[in-house]
Amino acid sequence: MRRSSEQRPIGLRAWAVSLVLVMGGAWAVFHFVDPHRLAGRWPFGVDRTEVDAYAAVAVLPFAEKDSVRVPVLYLGPTRRSGSCWPADRGRGRDTRWMETNGFGDSVDVRPLRSEADGLHVRLRPGSELRGQRSFTLRPATDELLRARFVQLLATELEVLAPELSLIRVISCGKDLGIHVKEEVPDGHFLARHGVSGATAIELVFDPRLGHDLVPRVKGDSLANERLRALWSSSGRHGDAVGVGAWSHWSLLRMLASPDDPWGGEHPSAFMATEQQLIPVFRAPRPDLRGPARTMRSGPVTALVGTEPFVRSFRAAQDRLTTKRGELRERLLLVATTWVPMLHTGEAVHVHMARAEALIDELLRSLQDRELVGRLGLPVEPWPGYALLASEHAPLLSGSEVQEADALAELRRTTKLVVEGDSVVFPRGKYRINGALRFPQGHRVILLPGARIELGADAQLQVRGPLEVRGTKLNPVFVRPAEKGMPHQGLDVVGGAGDAAHISGLQMSGGRADRALVRMQGMAQVVVQGSVLEGASGGTLLHVLGGEVELRGGMMQGGAVQLTQTKALLKDVLLRGAARGRGAGGVVVEGGLVRIEGGATMGQEGAGVRCSSAAKVLLLGAVIDGCAIGLEVRDGATVHVDDVRFRKNDLVFSVSSAGSVRGSSRVVLYRNSFQDNGRDREVDADSSVNEVGTLMEAVRSGERFIP
C-alpha cells in the first residue's frame, strides 16, 4: 500500500470538530476540576498566565456575569498644561479636578517619583476624602492582594498601616483600569492615628539606594538634630527605636515580601521630643534592582537578631497563630471583595482559589519558627559613616591616639554607668589616662563623691550637657593622679540648647597653658559653690558664649575668663595663688557681665580686666591687694558702685590705645578707697566719670546692668 502523495485539505468540518473538542475539553477542565487544583502548579512549564488565558477562553463565554461595583475616580486635565494623566510626566505639581463618591474638588497632583505610572494626589487644606489628605494611585497588580492581607494582619498587631482600596480611574474620559488607592503616611495620617507631634520620615535599609546617611526632615532642625543623635548611637537605643513595634513590623515585611523584606523605602514616624521611632507598614513596591542581599547599619537593623527582638517577633507570630481561624475568615472576606474587582472579566473562581492558597501560605508562615532567622542579612555600614561617629576622632596629636574602647574599658573596670545617652560617674574613684572623649551629644553626670584622677596630660572631653552634682559635704573631686604631673582639665563643647550645671566641684592640678575648665557653645553655664585651684596661674574657668551664672565658691591661683557671655558673678571669691599673688581675677572679653558681691584679692595682674566693648557692672565687691584694681581696655564700659578698693598698687587703668571699639569708660558711683598706691591712669581718649547714684532698678537686679 502506498500512501497517496496528494495533499488532502482539512475541511471545515474537521476544523469545527477539533475546535469543539478542544473547547469542550477546556470547558470541562475549568468547570469540573477543583479550582484549587487549577490554581496550583501546572506540569510541563505551563505558566499561570497561560492558565488564565485558557480559563478566559473556556469559561467566560459561559460564565454568569457578576456585577462588581468598583468605585470610580474621575480626573480632569491639568490646569496649567491642559494635559491628561498619564500623558503629563513632569515632576511638578499641577491642579486637576477630581471627582469620586460625591466628592468633587480641585486637587494637587504629581507623578509618583518612586514608581512609574503612579500618581500622588493631595487635597486642598481643610479638604478631606474619607479622612485622608493625600493618597497615591497606582495600577493594581496581582501582588497587591498579598499586601492587602498583610495590612489586615498589621491592624491585628497594632502597627500603623495606610489604608488600601481599589478604585477605577477615568482620566479625561479614558478608562485607565483598576488602581490601588493608598493613603500617604504623612503628618496628617499620623495625627489621625493618634501619633501627634510626630514627623513622617522615610527610612532606607537597602544599601544600594544612595539616600540619606541619616533621614532628614525639611525645615525642622530639632528633629534633624535628634535624628542625627539617634543614628550616631546605633545599637544603643533599643528603647527609642522600640524593639516590640519594629519586630512586629519586620514580621509583616517578611510576610508581605519574603524575598526582600528590607528593599525599598519605608515610612516611619519620628517623635523628636521623645526621640522615638515608630514603624509604619506600607505595601511593598517593586524594585528593579532585585532583592537586597545586605542591609544598612542603623538603629533598626541593629536590633535584628538580638534576643529581645527574636522573642518579640516570635510572640507576634504566636499572637496571630492563636487567632488563625478567625483571621482566615477575615482574610477570605477580603478576598471575596477584592478578587472580583481585581479580576473583572476573568475566571474569578481560579483567582479566588489562588487567593485561598495565598491565605493558607501566610497562615503557615506564622507557624514557621525559623522565619525570624531569614530576616537577618549581612550588615553593610553606610558609606562614610565616620562622619557620624566623631567620638573616635583623636583630638590631641601629641598624646597617644585615643583608644576607641577607652569608655568601654572604664565602664568595665569602674562603677561608671552608661544609661541611654547619659554617662554617669557614681561615688567612687576613677583613674583616667590620656584624652577621654565622651560620645557626641551624651550627657555626662558626676554624682556626689565621685573622685576623678587624671593622669599626666589627660583630659575629659564632654561633647554635650554636663552635670556635676557635688555638695558641700560630698564634693566631686577632679585631681591629678600624680603630684607634679598636671592634666589638661575638662573641655566641654555643647550644642544649641545644651547646659552645664556644676555644683560642689573641687578641681585642681591643671596645666598652666590650658584652662582648667573650658566651656564652649553651651546655652547656659551655672557654677555654684565650687573650688577651682591653679597652682601656677593661668585660667581656671573659661566660658565662651552663652549665659553664665557663678554663685559662691572660690577660684584660687588663676583667672575666670568670660568671652562674649551674659554673666552674673555673685559672691565669688577670687584669690591669688596660695603663696603670693595670682595671675589675674576676672577677665571679661565682650558681652554683658554683672559682678555682685564677692572679692578679688592678691592678683599679680588686674583684679578685674574688661575689654572688647564689654559692658560690666561692679557692685558691692571688694578688690584688694591687686597690682591693678580695675583695668579697662578696648572700648569697654564699667559701672562701679559700692566697691571697696583696698591696698591696690593702682586703682584704675583705663586706656583706649589701639581700640577699634571706641573709647573706654569707667562710671563711678559711691565707692570707698583705702590704702591704694595710685588712683588712676587714664589716657586722653578714655574717661573716668563720677556721677550720682546708681539706678535702684539696677541695684536691685531688676535691670541687669545700667
Binding site: R113, S390, S397, E403, G455
Partner: protein
C-alpha cells in the same frame, strides 16, 4: 557552472587579500601589538556582542535623556572643548521627567569624549529622589569591567570615608541606547545635607586641575602649596572656610615647625579619624590616582569646624609605585604619616578592613552581586568604548569577553595584593634577648610593637627605650606602651611635593631598660593586631 564557481572563488580571494593588505597596512602604521589589540576588540565585539538579542530590563535603573538633537550635534562637533557648554535636557527616571542642564565633561581623559559613549554631567534644580544630588556625572566607566571605580568607592565608604554616591545605570539619549554608564555624584555644597548631616549648605573645596579656558586645559597646581589652588564650590559662606583652609595649608607647608607642633595644628583643622580612614582606604584600594594635583575634595564639617576629605575617583588596583608601606600621595599625607601614632592608627584601620574584605570574602560577594546585575546589560550594551591599548587615543569598542577577562583579572590582582598586605601587617618576627634588666629587640619586619605588663601598685616600673623614657598608659589592669617604628624617606632629598614618594620602615634595634627589673608579666605584641610576636 564551473565558470561561476571560478569567479566566486576569485571574489573571495580578492576580499581575503584585501583584508590581509589592510591588516598589514594597519600593522605597519600602528605597530603589530596595537593593531592586534584594536582588531581583536573590533572582531570580538562584532562576533560576540552583536549577536546577542536580549533586552534585559531589571537590575539597573534607566536614565532616559531628551535633548535637542541640533544642540547635541553642536556639542559633539567640538569635543572636548564644548564640555563647558550646558544645554537644556529632560531626564526621565522611574517614569517621571525632571528638567536638567546637560553638558559633556572630562576634557583631559579621551575615554570620556572619544567613542560613542561620552561622559556628561546633569545639573538639577529639583533632583530625582533616587539620587537626590544637585549635580551628577554620568561617565563612561574607565575599565572594561565597569566596576573598578564603583568597587573602589564601595571599599572606601565601607571603611567610613565619605564617598560620593556611585551606581551603575542604563542610559538612553533621545531614545538611542548609550549602554551602561556610571552615575557619580558631584560633591557640592549639598554634600552633607544630602546625607542628613547638616541643614545648611557647607563649604566645600575641590582640589583639581584648573578649569578649561580658551580651548586650553586647566593649570596643574600643587594643592598644598597655596590655599588659592583649591577651588571653592557652591554658595556657602566662605569666610571661615577660607581662613581655615589657609591655616591648614600653612600647617602643611610652613617651615620650622616640629612634627608635634605641626601635627597639633593639623589635628585642629582636619578630622583626623576620617583622614586616617582615608589614608587606610588609599592603601587598601591600592590607588595612586589621587595625587598632589587632583582628585581631591575637602568639606568643612560645621559640627566641629574641621575639614573632612572625600574619596574621589578611587580606581581599584591603580598601583602605588614600589609597593609602599606608607605611600605619600600628597604633601598633607607626608605630614600626617610622619606622626607614628597616626601611622599606627592607619594601619589598624586598614587591617580591620582587610580582614573583612579578603578573609571574610565580603569583596568577592559584593563584586558578584553587582556583576550579576550588570552583566546582562553589559552583554546587551553595544556601545562599550574604552582604551583598548595603553595609548590615550585608542578608544574603541570592546566586547563582553574583554569585560569578563578584566573582571577576573582585577579580582585576582586584588586578592594577591591583599594577601600580601595581610602578611605584611601581621608578620612580626622579633628577636628578643634578655640581659639583666634589659630586653634587646631586633626585627626587620615592619610591625610596630606593644609592650604590656600588669599594673602593680606596690612596684612602679619605669621603662627606657634606648635610654629615653617610654611613655606608658594604664588600661585594663595593664601598663601599655607602643614602640613605634622609625621610617626613612624614599628619596635622598625629602620634598613634600614630590610625586610617588613613600616612607620605608627601618629595621628595629632597640634596648628596653626596666627599672628596677623586668616584670614577670611583660608581653610583646604586634601593636596593630595585638598578636604575640613570633
Amino acid at each position: 557552472m564551473s565558470g561561476r564557481r571560478t569567479s566566486g572563488g576569485a571574489g573571495a580571494w580578492m576580499v581575503a587579500v584585501g583584508l590581509i593588505a589592510i591588516t598589514v597596512v594597519f600593522a605597519a602604521l600602528l605597530g603589530p601589538g596595537r593593531a592586534a589589540s584594536i582588531a581583536l576588540a573590533s572582531i570580538t565585539s562584532t562576533l560576540v556582542d552583536d549577536l546577542y538579542e536580549g533586552h534585559p530590563e531589571g537590575g539597573l535603573p534607566l536614565l532616559s535623556i531628551t535633548v535637542s538633537p541640533a544642540a547635541l550635534d553642536s556639542l559633539n562637533s567640538d569635543l572636548p572643548w564644548s564640555g563647558g557648554t550646558n544645554i537644556r535636557s529632560t531626564v526621565e527616571v522611574g517614569g517621571v521627567e525632571y528638567p536638567a542642564r546637560f553638558r559633556y565633561r572630562g576634557a583631559l581623559t579621551p575615554s570620556h569624549f572619544l567613542g560613542e559613549k561620552r561622559s556628561f554631567r546633569l545639573t538639577f534644580r529639583d533632583p530625582p529622589p533616587q539620587f537626590p544630588y544637585r549635580k551628577v556625572n554620568v561617565i563612561n566607566p574607565k575599565s572594561f569591567n565597569m566596576l573598578n571605580n564603583h568597587m573602589g568607592l564601595w571599599i572606601g565608604g565601607r571603611m567610613g570615608v565619605p564617598v560620593p554616591h556611585d551606581e551603575l545605570v542604563r542610559v538612553e539619549v533621545n531614545g538611542t541606547p548609550w549602554g551602561v554608564m556610571e552615575l557619580y555624584e558631584q560633591p557640592g555644597d549639598d554634600f552633607l545635607r544630602a546625607r542628613g548631616l547638616s541643614d545648611d549648605r557647607v563649604a566645600l573645596y575641590k582640589g583639581d586641575f584648573g578649569p578649561v579656558r580658551d580651548r586650553t586645559l586647566g593649570a596643574r597646581n600643587l594643592l598644598w602649596q597655596d590655599a588659592g589652588h583649591w577651588q571653592f564650590v557652591g554658595r556657602a559662606d566662605s569666610t571661615t572656610a577660607h581662613a581655615r583652609l589657609g591655616a591648614l595649608v600653612r600647617a602643611v607647608n610652613g617651615h620650622g615647625l616640629s612634627v608635634e607642633a605641626r601635627a597639633d595644628s593639623i589635628a585642629r583643622l582636619l578630622n583626623m579619624d576620617i583622614y586616617l580612614r582615608y589614608l587606610a582606604a588609599l592603601w587598601v584600594v591600592n590607588t595612586s590616582h589621587i595625587d598632589q594635583y587632583h582628585n581631591q575634595f575637602l568639606v568643612l564639617d560645621p559640627k566641629d569646624g574641621r575639614f573632612v576629605p572625600v574619596l574621589w575617583d578611587a580606581l581599584l588596583m591603580y598601583d602605588q609605585a614600589g609597593a609602599p608601606r606608607y605611600f605619600i600621595h600628597d604633601a598633607l599625607a607626608y605630614r600626617v604619616l610622619q606622626v607614628p601614632q597616626w601611622r599606627l592608627q592607619r594601619d589598624r584601620l586598614a587591617w580591620e578592613a582587610l580582614k573583612e574584605l579578603q578573609r571574610d570574602g565580603l569583596f568577592r560577594a559584593r563584586w558578584d552581586e553587582v556583576q550579576d546585575r550588570v552583566r546582562p546589560h553589559l552583554l546587551a550594551d553595544r556601545n562599550k568604548f574604552a582604551n583598548v591599548t595603553l595609548r590615550a587615543e585608542d578608544v574603541h569598542r570592546y566586547s563582553i569577553l574583554h569585560a569578563i577577562r578584566s573582571g577576573q583579572g582585577i579580582q585576582q590582582r586584588a586578592s594577591t595584593y591583599w594577601d600580601g598586605l595581610l602578611t605584611r601587617i601581621e608578620q612580626c618576627r622579633v628577636n628578643v634577648q634578655h640581659r639583666g634588666n634589659e630586653l634587646v629587640l631586633s626585627t626587620t619586619d615592619e610591625c610596630p610593637l606593644e609592650l604590656s605588663w600588669a599594673a602593680n601598685d606596690s612596684t612602679q616600673v619605669a621603662v627606657l627605650l634606648n635610654g629615653a623614657p617610654l611613655h606608658s598608659i594604664e588600661q585594663g589592669g595593664y601598663h601599655r606602651a607602643v614602640i613605634h617604628r622609625n621610617v626613612a624617606h624614599s628619596s635622598a632629598q625629602p620634598d613634600i611635593y614630590l610625586q610617588d614618594q613613600q616612607f620605608k620602615v627601618e629595621p628595629l634595634e632597640a634596648t628596653l631598660t626596666f627599672v628596677p627589673s623586668i616584670p614577670a608579666s611583660v608581653r610583646i605584641t604586634n601593636a596593630i593586631t595585638h598578636a604575640p610576636v613570633e
